[in-house]
Amino acid sequence: MRRRGAFTLVELLVVIAIIGVLVGLLLPAVQAAREAARRMSCSNNLKQIGLAMHNYHDTHNVFPTGAAGCCYGTWPVLLMPYFEQGNVADLYVSWGDTSSTGVRYSGSPNVENVTGRRYDMLTCPSDQENSPIGEITSHNYAVNYGNTSKTQVSNLNGVIFGGAPFSADPSKEFGFHSVTDGTSNTLMVAEVRQGQGSDLRGFLWWGDASGFESYLGPNSPLPDRIYSSGYCKPVKGMPCDVSSSTNPTMFASRSQHPGGVNVALCDGSVRLFGETIDLETWRGLSTSRGGEVLELNQ
């Protein structure tokens, strides 16, 4: 009875069980804390992009153009001088040259100098990185092209286009003056996920993927639309399908964060929007002159 100096098997098992339970309780908490830190870093990137947009607007009195056609430059290149990457932006050639003879984002020297690099400020640490074509990189933030499709059709299956702060048409320019719904009621830049393999989602250097459309809700169960099925590799949480006349090219805002997506609004604030948000509210938020009455109870 009084013998001491060694552990019995039962004692050992009890200790192991206690440790097991503690680890089992702690591990999910640790993982959640890590994800919370990544989400914070991700929303900080959006804050920086929002500030860069404001600085761009201070200089040019308009927001940067979303994209020049398919392949002749997109907004991140225009914004670079405002987030301390001006030296890189200076090396980008033939931005906006839609004559079909200029150097594309995928041509030399743009790949070596600009589009083949990865920019931490445009990368959300919660997502997996990808380079779908050669070494050209995908990133995680897309500008708001409004509530219909990438080409901003005026009526998509009954949804009426209500204006947007950005456009993929270089002939259109928007600024704070065109955001009549109010800058705190209009989305500016949202998260998107990088497709894996040859999937072109998040391929910001390419016109189509430079923006997101709120026709699809955040983390929508409905598919993103890409013109070719070769560029569309559906995985869990990222359905996709080819564009059709009733569902033209469009991309939902998506993220790996539990519950929702981070979005920078036109006033520069960053919010997490739950994926359960009412679709009408989400679409109303993305329009710049829709005239909707919205209440954001976050």
Binding site: M1, T8, V10, E11, L13, V14, A17, I18, V21, G24, L25, S149, T151, Q152, V153, S154, N155, L156, N157, G158, F161, D169, S171, K172, S220, P221, L222, P223, Y227, P234, P239, D241, V242, S243, S244, S245, T246, N247, P248, T249, D278, L279, E280
Partner: protein
């Protein structure tokens, strides 16, 4: 003997605590929303690919949808709908290469994109007349037989 008893009590307690932790479960709160699943056929054949959307009555919140693969669709309860009447829209892009013009964008020189044609008649999507009442009993055995 005493040692042995307390140890056994401890082990029992641990097992009980573990069981209690595990039994609390991980099920998300779906607040009464129903999962949806079912079959879509076009002229008697399962629709190989497409999307299905459930639109609530005008003004109500809670539109949802999902992808149709080989005639089947499954939407988990987290993205499901409350019981009620919904307008159903089914879309499917033509796979045989036929194209048609997409709706026009605003602006004078808006070029119309040529995209894959929609092969489901508009009475099942854009101007849908297809309605369904979703209840606990049928939410996972929905059947939609479309005719072109």
């Amino acid at each position: 003997m005493l040692d042995c008893l307390t140890s056994r009590g401890l082990v029992g307690g641990m097992a009980l605590a573990l069981a209690a932790i595990l039994s609390t479960g991980c099920g998300g709160d779906t607040s009464g929303r129903l999962p949806l699943a079912g079959q879509v056929t076009l002229d008697g054949q399962p629709l190989d690919r497409g999307t299905i959307e459930f639109h609530p009555e005008a003004g109500a919140a809670g539109m949802t949808g999902g992808v149709i693969t080989d005639g089947r669709f499954e939407i988990p309860a987290e993205q499901g709908v409350m019981p009620g009447t919904y307008t159903v829209r089914v879309y499917s892009a033509a796979t045989d290469g036929t194209t048609e013009a997409a709706p026009a964008a605003p602006g004078p020189e808006a070029a119309q994109e040529q995209l894959a044609a929609e092969r489901i008649p508009s009475r099942y999507n854009v101007d849908s007349e297809l309605e369904t009442t979703i209840s606990d009993a049928n939410s996972e055995q929905l059947e939609f037989a479309l005719e072109s």
